[in-house]
Homo-oligomer: 418 residues x 4
C-alpha cells in the first residue's frame, strides 16, 4: 500500500493546525538556509519587549502564510477557478519567500545597515539567486511576485490590501501578543473569497468579515505595531548602532563579535546602484543574534554612551515615547534638547548635539487601515457586479477608516518631561 | 476545618469559567421558578433556526451576567471603590433578574400577547412580587434597577451603553453562534473599567477595547440579530399567532394545548392600566414550550392558513426577507400584494387582504452601535479628566458609528420576487 | 457566472466552523420535520440543570456530525480511498439520521413511554418510512447503518469505538459544558485516520490522540454524563411520569396538555411486536416541550405527590445522589426506606412502599472508556500491519482503561442521609 | 485621585491574560539583566525545529508562572490560608527565578559546558548573588526554594509533582506547539487546590482535572519533549560542540565569535568544587545567540566535520532517531558503526571511531507521568482525610501511569538504516 500523504511533510501550527508542505521544490526551499535563517528573525521586531508572548519568527509567519495559501487555493479550485499545477506551486513559493529579504529585527534596522535600501529589493535579489540554484524553478513565482504574471489575481493574493500575507500576520500577531481585538474571521473570509474577472473579490455575505478585518488591522496598529514602548525600543536599538558607527568613524577600536555585521558597520554601503554579491553574502549571514550578541558585549565596552545605551536595552530601561500635537508644541524640541543635555551632563556623559540625538528624537507614524486607491478590496454584489468596498459597505465608518491615521511622537529620556 | 467555599455554589460556564453564586438570598433567587423559567426561553429567539449552535437560554445569560458582575465588582474593590455588602448583593440580584419579564422567544412575541406591553414592565412587577416573597431583601436591587439609588454608577453597570448585560450577551451570542467577528476583549475592558466621580469610566489605555466592543456590537446586529432569515422567521411565528387570534375572534374552535397561552389568546389584554395579578400569574407560566407545542399541533389543524403557516415553521420553509431602498421602490408593496394573492389562490388558500398580510409585510430595523447622547461611554484621559468616548477616540470612524443604521425590508413568499 | 457553492447551503457551527450541506436529498432531509424535531430535544437530557451552557440539541449534534463526516470523507478521498457519490451521500444521510429515534430528553425517558423499547428501533423504523417518502433514496444509507453494506468501513465510521458520532459529541459536549478535560484533538485524528483492508485504522503517529480521546471519554463520563446531580434529576423526572401513570391507572382525572404524550401515558404500549404506525405517528410529535409543559401544569395539580415532585423539578429542589460500595452497605436500603417514610409522613405526604419508591431508589452506572472486544480501534504500525490499540500502545494504562468502570449509587431525599 | 493599579505593571500574556507585576523588588528583578537574559533562551530548546510555533522563551514561562502564582495565592487567601506579605512576595520571586540558571537551549547543552554541572546549582548561586545585590530581600525566597522554610506547602507550590512550574509549562508548551492533547484545566485545578495541614491538596471534586493533568504530561513527553526529531537535533548540536572542543584540544585555530562561549570551550571546567565567580560571570553572558552565531560561522569553517555538522543544522538536514527494543537488537551498534564509517568514507569525511561518534549514538529517555513516592499529589476526600492520589482515583490506569516509561533510541545518519 502506498501512503499518499508521504507526498507531504506535515507541520503543526498553533494558528492553522496542520500544514502540509509538498515534498520536492517547496520543501527543499523551506529547508534552505535562506528560509531557515528567518527562524532567527523575530516577526514583530522588538514588540516582544512589551508583549512577552510575541516571540514568533518570520519563519513561522512564512510557513503559516504558505499553509493559508494552500487553503485558499483549494477553496478557489472548488469554486472552479483554474489554477495550474505550476501556478499552484509558484504561489506557495512566492508567499514562502515574500519576506526572505528582511534583516535583523525586521523593520527596525532596515535603513541602518545599507543606505537607500528596502527589504523588497533584497527579497527579489535572493529569489533570483535561488532561481538559478533551483534551475529556473522559481521563474513563475518571480513573475507573480513582481506583478508580471498574466493572471493578475495571483499577484493580488500575494500583495494587495487583502492578501495572504496580511491575513496570516494579523491572526498570528493577535494570537501571540494576546491582543484579542486583532483577531479576524479567517474561515469566513476564505469561504467568501473568489475570483471574478481575474480579480480577487469577496462575496456580499462576507462584507462584515472584511469590516472586521479592517478594524482589526487598525486596532493592531494602535495597540501593538505602534505601541509607545515598541517605538522607544526601536529608537534605542537604532541609537546603539548609530553610536557604534560613529565610534568606528572616529577609529575607535570597537569589538564586533559578528563578522558580517562588522562588514556593514565599517563600510558605507548604498543600494542605489544595486546589491553587490558581497553585500548579499554578508546579508544572509545576519539575523537577530548578531545584533543581540553585539549589544551584550557592548554593554561591557568602555565608551560611556555605547555602554549606557546597551545596558539600557539589556536591563529594559528604555526611553519614553510621548505623542504630541505638532501645532500646539512649537519650541518643544529645543526645550527637550536643553533638558536632555542637562541630564547627560549630570550623569557624566557627553552632552553635545551628537550625544543628545541618541537620547532624543521626533518622529511620526502613519497607518492606513484601508484605502480605496491602491489594490483596494472589491465586493461581489451579485453574479455580475463587483463594487469597491467602501462603496458597498452601508456604514460611513469605513469611509472614515479610509484616511491615514497620523501620529506625531517624541522619544526621550524618562527623566526629561514634555 | 471549615471549608470557606461552601459559602458558594459553583457553576461551570463555557464563557466565564467558574461562577460562584453566594448561598443565601442570591442562590435561593437563582433556584426560584421565576428564574428557572428562563431556562425555557431562548436568548436569541429564533436565531437558532439560522445559527444551529445558538440554543442558549436567557437563564445562562442571566447567570453569566451575574458571574461577570462578580468579577467587575471584585476589580472595582481592588481599585478602592467602596461598595457595601448590601450594594454588592443587590447588584448581583439586579443583574440576575434584569430579564425576568421576558416572554416566549424573547422579543419575538413581545407585542402579540398584551397590548401596550414591554418586558421591562413585567420585570419590575415580578421583582416587586419577589421582594415581598423575600421579605424586602430586594429593596436596594430595585432602587438600583430603576435608577433611584444614590450611587449612579451602580445603575450604569446594570443599564447603559457599556453595561454588564451587553458585555455578557455580546460575548455569549458570538460564542454560541460561531460569529467570531462579535467577540470582545472582556478582560481588558474589566481591567480598565473604574469609577470616577460616581461614573463608570474606562482608562485611556482601554480605548481600543471599547472601539472593538462598539464595532463588535455593530457586526452582531448586521450578522445575527438582524439576519434576513431570523427576521423572516420572526414574521412567520407572529403570523401563526395572528391567525390563531383571528380564528378565535371568529369563534373557530381552536385546540390550544397550553392553558396560559389560551388565556392570552382568547382575551384582549392591555398593559395600559398596569398588569393585573391574573396576567402575571399566567405570564410566568409561559415559555418557548407553550408556543412550540401549539405550533406543532396547529400543523395538524384544519384551517388551511394556520395549517400552512405552522407546517412552514416546522419544516423550515420560511418566508424570505429582501432589504430595499424605500426611495427607489414606490409601488412595490402593491405589486407584491398582487403576486402574493395570485400565489395563494393558485395554492387554494384564502387570498383576501387579511390572508395576504400573513405572508407579506414591510418593516424597518434600526441599530445604533454607539450614541453619545444617552448613557454614553466616558474615557478617563488622565487622573482628573473624563471625556466622552467619541471625542476621545482619534479616529473619525467612531463618530460615523454614532448614527443609527436603518434598514428597510420586506418579508414575502419566496415564490414572490421583488 | 454560475456560483458553484450554490450547490451547498452553509451553516455556521461553533465547533466545526462552516458546514456545507449539499442541496437536494440531504438538505431536504435536514429540513424535514423529523430532523427539525431534534431541535427540541436536548442532546444531554437533563445535564443542562447542572451545566448551564449545555443547552444544545440533538439537531446541532446531527448537523455537526454530518459536517465532520464531510471532512473525514474528503480526507479519505485525498488518501485514495474510493468512495462513490452514492456512498458519500448515503454516509451523510446515515449520520444525519442516526439519532432520529430519540424521544424527549434523549435517554432519560427511553423506557418510560414504551416497554421493551430502545431508540435504535425507532430510528430504523423512521429511516424506512423516510426511505419510502424519498422514493428509495435512503436505501444505501440504511444498508450502511445496519451493517449490511459490503464495505465494512462505512458502517464503522457510523458506529464503532471510534465513530463520527462519538467524535462530534465528545467535542461538542465538552465545549458546551465548559469541561475542558473532555476536549479531543479532532484535526489530528482526522489527519491520521485511513482505511486499511476495508477497516478504519489510525496511523502510528496518531496513537497519542487516541489515548487522549479514550481518556477524554472516560473523564466526560465521570464529570458530566454520570454527574451526581444529573443522575438525580433523571430519577426525579422519571418519578414524575411514574406518578402520572399510577394516577391514570387509578382513573384519576389528570390534565395532560400534550395529546401525544397522553397517548403514551394512557396506554400500556410494548415494542415487543414492533412499532405500530400509530405509535410512530405519536412518537414523532413528542419532544422536550411536551414533557416540560406537563410538569409545569402538574406543579399546580391537586395530587400531593405529583405536585411535590413537579415543583421540586421546577424549583430545582432535586433529590440527592450518593455513591456507595455495595459490599459494605448491606441493609442500607431498608434503613433509607424507613427514614424516607418518616420524612414523607412528617410532610403530610403518602408514605407507603409505592410513595417511597418515587423518592428513593438504587442503581448502578457502567462506563467502558475502551474495550478491545467489540469494534475495537486499530493502529497501522507500518504499511502492512494493523494492531489492536491496547497492544500497540506502550503504556499499560490503556489496558487498565479497557475494563468497565462500575459505580453503585442511591438517589434519595437530601433530608435522608446514608 | 491616586490610581491604585499604578502599584502594578501590567503584561499581556496569551495564556493567562493580564499579569500584574508588583512594582518594587519584584519588578526590579524582572527587569534585571539576569532575568531579561531568559528572553534569549528558548523554553523548549530545539523543539522549535519541529513545532514551528514553539519559539517561546524561558522568560515568558518565568513571567507566566509568576502570574499563575499570583492567582493561586489569591485563591488560597480567599480560602483563609494565611500567607504573609513577605511570604507572598517571596513566592513570586522564587518562581520568577526558579530557572535563572539555565544555559543556552535549556537542557540541550547542560553537560557540554561544565562537567558535573546542573542548572539548579547555577540557579541557587545566582539567587544568592542577587540576594546580596538586593540587600537581603531574597532571603525568604531562597529559604522557600531550597525547602528550608517552615511552611512546607510554600516549597511544594514551587517544586513538587503538582507545582506552578509544571502547570505553566504544560499549558504554555501545549499552546505554542499546537499539541492540544497537552492542554490542562488550569482554572479547575486552581479552584480545587487548597492547603490542608501544611500540605498542598486537591479537593475531591478536582480529581478528574488531576487525572487529565497527569495524562497531559504523559502525552507531552511522548509527542513533544521526546519527539524523535527533537532528540536528533539535540544530538546534532551536541556533536557540533564536541567537534569544536576536539579541534581546540588539537590546537586547531577555531574562530569563536562569542568570547564567553570561548571561555567555556577552551577550558576544562568542572562544577565539582563549586562555581567560581569567573564561571558565573561568563555563564550569565551566554544564551541561544552565542550558540547559533557560532554554528553559523562554523558552517564556513574549513574543518570538514565541523563544517558538515553545522551546515546540517542550518539547512535542517538532521540525523534520524530510531526507537528500538534493546533485548532484540544485540549487535546493532556494531553494524551501524560499520555502515556509518562506510558512508563517511564515501563522502570523503574522516571515518575513524571518533568521527563516527559525531554521527551515531545510543541513548534512552525516561519519563514518569506520576509517581507516588516523591512529593506526590494528595486528594482531600473529606474535611479531615487526605489520600494519596493513586489510591483516591477509582481507575486502575493511574497506577499504571505511576511507572516510568523508558524508551531506547539510536541517533544515526538517515542513509544508515537499522
Amino acid at each position: 500500500m502506498l501512503m499518499k500523504q508521504s507526498l507531504y511533510k506535515i507541520f503543526t501550527d498553533p494558528i492553522h493546525g496542520f500544514i502540509s508542505v509538498p515534498k520536492g521544490t517547496v520543501l527543499r526551499l523551506l529547508d534552505h538556509a535562506y528560509i531557515q535563517r528567518l527562524r532567527r528573525i523575530r516577526q514583530l521586531g522588538l514588540a516582544y519587549t512589551v508583549f512577552p508572548g510575541a516571540e514568533h519568527s518570520r519563519f513561522s509567519h512564512a510557513l503559516g502564510a504558505m499553509g493559508l495559501m494552500q487553503k485558499v487555493i483549494g477553496s478557489l479550485k472548488d469554486k472552479n477557478t483554474t489554477i495550474s499545477h505550476d501556478e499552484h506551486q509558484s504561489m506557495l513559493i512566492a508567499i514562502l519567500l515574500h519576506d526572505i529579504g528582511h534583516g535583523p529585527f525586521s523593520h527596525t534596522l532596515e535603513h541602518t545597515l545599507i543606505k537607500d535600501f528596502n527589504h523588497e529589493m533584497m527579497t527579489l535579489a535572493l529569489m533570483r539567486e535561488l532561481n538559478s540554484t533551483f534551475d529556473g524553478e522559481l521563474e513563475t513565482a518571480i513573475e507573480i511576485f513582481t506583478g508580471q504574471h498574466k493572471k493578475k489575481f495571483l499577484h493580488q493574493l500575494i500583495s494587495s490590501q487583502l492578501d495572504i500575507d496580511r491575513l496570516d500576520y494579523l491572526k498570528r500577531d493577535s494570537f501571540y501578543t494576546g491582543v484579542l481585538e486583532g483577531s479576524i474571521g479567517l474561515d469566513r473570509i476564505i469561504k467568501t473569497l473568489r475570483i471574478h474577472q481575474d480579480q480577487v473579490v469577496i462575496e456580499r455575505k462576507g462584507i462584515y468579515s472584511i469590516e472586521n478585518y479592517i478594524m482589526a488591522r487598525h486596532l493592531m496598529y494602535m495597540q501593538v505595531y505602534h505601541h509607545k514602548t515598541v517605538l522607544s525600543a526601536d529608537k534605542l536599538i537604532r541609537s546603539v548602532f548609530k553610536r557604534a558607527r560613529d565610534l568606528i568613524k572616529e577609529d575607535y577600536n570597537l569589538f564586533i563579535p559578528s563578522p558580517s555585521l562588522k562588514f556593514f558597520l565599517t563600510q558605507n554601503l548604498s543600494a542605489k546602484k544595486g546589491l553587490s554579491p558581497e553585500m548579499m553574502r554578508h546579508f544572509v549571514m545576519l539575523d537577530d543574534n548578531d545584533v543581540l550578541i553585539c549589544i551584550k558585549y557592548w554593554a561591557q565596552d568602555k565608551d560611556p554612551i555605547l555602554n549606557d545605551l546597551s545596558l539600557r536595552f539589556l536591563n529594559r530601561r528604555f526611553l519614553r515615547t510621548t505623542f504630541f500635537n505638532p501645532e500646539k508644541n512649537s519650541g518643544m524640541h529645543e526645550k527637550l534638547q536643553e533638558k536632555t543635555s542637562t541630564f547627560l551632563k549630570k550623569n557624566r556623559l557627553p552632552f553635545d548635539q551628537n550625544a543628545i540625538a541618541y537620547y532624543l528624537s521626533v518622529h511620526k507614524t502613519e497607518s492606513e487601515p484601508y484605502t480605496f486607491q491602491n489594490h483596494s478590496i472589491w465586493i461581489l454584489e451579485d453574479q455580475d457586479t463587483a463594487v469597491e468596498f467602501s462603496k458597498a459597505a452601508e456604514a460611513r465608518h469605513i469611509q472614515a477608516l479610509s484616511q491615514p491615521v497620523v501620529k506625531h511622537y517624541c522619544v526621550h529620556l524618562k527623566e526629561v518631561s514634555l
